[in-house]
Amino acid sequence: MSNIVGIDLGTTFSELAILNAIGKPEIIPNADGERLTPSAIFFDEDSPGVIRVGIEALNARHLNAERSVRWIKRHMGDANYRKEIDGKIWTPVELSALILKKLKQECSVEHGEIHEAVISVPAHFDEVRRKATMDAGASAGLNVIGIVNEPVAAALYYATTREVFGKVLVYDLGGGTFDVTILDVRGPQIEIICSQGDHALGGMDFDQKILQMLEESYREKFGAALITSDEDRAKYEDEAEDIKKTLSRRPVAKKMLYGPAGSMKVEITREMFEESIDSLIARADILVEVALEEAGLEPAGINKVLLVGGSTRIPLVQQRLEKMFGFAPDKTVNVDECVALGAALHAGLTTLRDKPEAVPAGIASGLRDIILRDVCNHSYGTICAPLDKETGRRVIQNRIILKKNTPLPCETSQMFYTMSQGQTALEITITQGEDADPEYVNKIATHKFELPPGRPAECPIKVTYRYDVNQRMHCQFQDLQSGRTLEVDFCLDHDGQSRQVGIQEKTSQLEHVTVQ
């Protein structure tokens, strides 16, 4: 029997959970016995060929920041991000693969070979970032059988382990990203209503505010900079994180600052901290309101607010939620672990759907009643040139065909028309994004669609987009007069041979890398 695992590849910490014999998810501690593994990487200069991942890498940042990497998730899918170590260029996918490899190898020691996994991603991750995450998994030697949205995973875990019923809002404020998801939970039946996310809001942004306060205090006293090197920065970033955690438990945090101009003791109160993060919390409030608007709900329509992610421990976060909804949010499970636990459940459901024979009877029975209905994560459209009603001119426009948050599986069609007489081809562009302005959406594919010659303008072209539960999208462009069609398929895990070959190369490269 192969293990069924879920992985929370987080900005600050990562975890791996496995389904036990009765289909219940459990966190698997790493080799250090820790349930959470810091998502930090250090290229050890004293042991060439050895790459350290986890707590050792986190501490090593203070000694050699240049050879360290942290918060790589913020760069996932960023084609411009590169880290050069000893002449080798590392991409976000490869660096993330090192974290996944560490989780995989240390779990395999006690539980046998880990092969198939579901990895969680923020709900707002676009296609590029989702693919990059899958590539990282594949490079780490995992068969990534699915990608699950973090708040969906968390809700799945909550809904199957706690008494939850009705409209539930999952507030997922992690180390680097923030998601809000609204679900309708009816026993084991979970329907996602909508998800909204903010890619640049998380614990690390709160840490930065504290770091600014430390730097200002030092400059005020000594008239000099506290931080003069990358190592200093790494050290005080961690100190700031510590202060933040302390302020979640106590009203005041005290620290010694050892700067080049002398040392000083600094006191940061919870009030000071809350004032400094006010605009960040305001940003979180907006996202909650936007999600409620999208779901067509008022705060009073929400029955429960579930907290996910370490940053939800900040008292101000909980107070704001209580003020908005009129009741305290639920924090009965470990906010750091529920995503990985839910991802494992999702892996079980995926395996049960695609390969039921591979699921042991005990696990199958544990998962049998769960029904999860997800939504489309983004809007998908095409570029067209309609007449602007206001100006009477043709404008190039992105027309959304499949709207974000449409329940899956879904299919929708729209009719378009050729523009000119004798038009023999259409430039087809498939887009992902919410804007009507083509400049603000991502073009995920372009194709040329040949049409028969000698026809008048205004020939109808039917465009149909279909999205299934496995996040596979099928696009069809049909010329209704001639019957000609152009079909384009998208799939997160199978998008062409060249990519597969590239992943295999990376996998074999990483096989020779020692991760500790």
Partner: protein
């Protein structure tokens, strides 16, 4: 500058219409020795039935479930056929003779069906009259021969016009004119005419240049890049399009334009101010919405030409947009593209996010949520510049929320 340019164009047009008028007069003179001239305002007098007479009435006609304003053309009097049982065709031309028949301008047709074959888009109505019963056919009563839908017609000018209707009866055998009549008709044209439209386009462009200079001067300093951008735009947009002029007059015009532009720069550099409201008001009267967006776009380009945009320029731009009566959401979308927040010298959340002092907390909250929704979806754009802009906008939105909503 615009005066000079417009004079050249007007004289060109005038010359063209004089030639057209002459040609028309010559053709008619050859074809019809017996001519009658009536005045629609004097149609109550009894017509001379020995010649052909015409009169015009403004009527309403029902067609395709709608009622249209129509010129109804009626004839009376005699038509002398070239032979027995001749078939005849009626042809009607209209000219605008407000400035005198020697300076008459033809009425054009928007419909190809009613355009003169050898001189489109000049209006020319032709229809079969049928067989003439006698060698000399006399219409003793006013007889309707045509209903000319006003939607077909494009007049040269707006306002009170004197239209000359020239009606010819042609022999179907050889096309020879066998009878002719003309009459004048006073008509108030509510819409801009084709000559007006041409002049308006030119005038609006000249006014656009003035507005662009006003934007450039808003921060009390006209940068070389801004002035150059306006000059290049003006040279491109106000050029003489007639190729014949390129050889002779083009270079004179070019230097005159340059001189006029320099004069405008000097005007603003001396601290003089333009009445922006008045200019915008005129533009609204003469330019369609699409052209007003083009003018606004020029102003936005000028504002960004030096790499940063001053707060004073943003204020002027907002006034221009308001007074040009464009959609403010669309204006904001144009601003976002042309003037991303990172080039704003002062990042004023109210200006950038479309907030105003009279908005209550609730409206401010809704506006900020709308802006957040828009920028949050752009933050993962493939273009790093758009990503950076979205990041900055989200920060501004959050700060504004903290400040104005709490």
């Amino acid at each position: 500058m615009s005066q000079f340019n417009s004079n050249i164009r007007s004289s060109l047009l005038r010359t063209a219409y004089c030639i057209l008028g002459l040609l028309h007069a010559q053709r008619a003179t050859h074809a019809c020795p017996e001519r009658s001239r009536g005045d629609a305002s004097r149609t109550t007098t009894l017509p001379d039935l020995s010649i052909l007479n015409c009169r015009v009435q403004l009527t309403k006609q029902k067609a395709d479930n709608s009622i249209s304003d129509t010129f109804t053309i009626e004839l009376s009097g005699s038509i002398r056929a070239a032979s027995e049982s001749d078939y005849a065709t009626v042809q009607i031309l209209i000219t605008d003779a407000t400035e005198g028949t020697d300076r008459a301008k033809p009425v054009h047709s928007q419909s190809k069906q009613w355009q003169m074959q050898d001189a489109p888009p000049v209006f020319c109505y032709r229809a079969d009259l049928g067989r003439l019963p006698n060698r000399v056919t006399t219409l003793s009563d006013w007889t309707t021969v045509a209903h000319l839908n006003l939607d077909w017609l494009l007049f040269p000018h707006k306002g009170k016009r004197t239209l000359q209707f020239s009606t010819s009866v042609l022999s179907s055998q050889n096309g020879q004119e066998i009878a002719y009549a003309e009459c004048l008709f006073a008509y108030e044209n509510p819409a801009f005419g084709y000559v007006d439209l041409q002049e308006n386009i030119h005038r609006a462009k000249s006014l656009a240049v003035a507005l662009a200079f006003a934007v450039s001067a808003a921060d009390n300093k006209m940068y070389h890049s801004e002035v150059q951008l306006i000059k290049n735009w003006a040279k491109k947009e106000l050029r003489i399009e007639n190729s014949e002029l390129r050889n002779s007059t083009f270079y004179i015009l070019h230097s005159k334009l340059e001189e006029a532009l320099d004069h405008a720069v000097g005007f603003f550099q001396k601290g003089n101010q333009l009445d922006i409201y008045k200019v915008c008001k005129e533009i609204v009267e003469i330019a369609p919405l699409s052209e007003r967006y083009d003018i606004l776009d020029l102003c936005l380009q000028v504002a960004r030409a030096k790499g940063t945009v001053a707060a004073e320029e943003l204020v002027v731009l907002k006034y221009i947009a308001t007074w040009l009566e464009v959609d403010m959401d669309r204006f904001r979308a144009m601003m976002e593209k042309r003037l991303p927040v990172n080039i704003h010298q002062v990042k004023d959340a109210k200006v950038v996010l479309g907030l105003s002092s009279d908005m209550g907390k609730e409206r401010t909250r809704r506006q900020l949520n709308k802006q957040y929704r828009q920028w949050n979806s752009r933050v993962t754009n493939a273009d790093p510049e758009i990503q950076a802009q979205a990041d900055q906008m989200l920060r501004l939105i959050a700060e504004a929320r903290s400040q104005y909503v709490g």
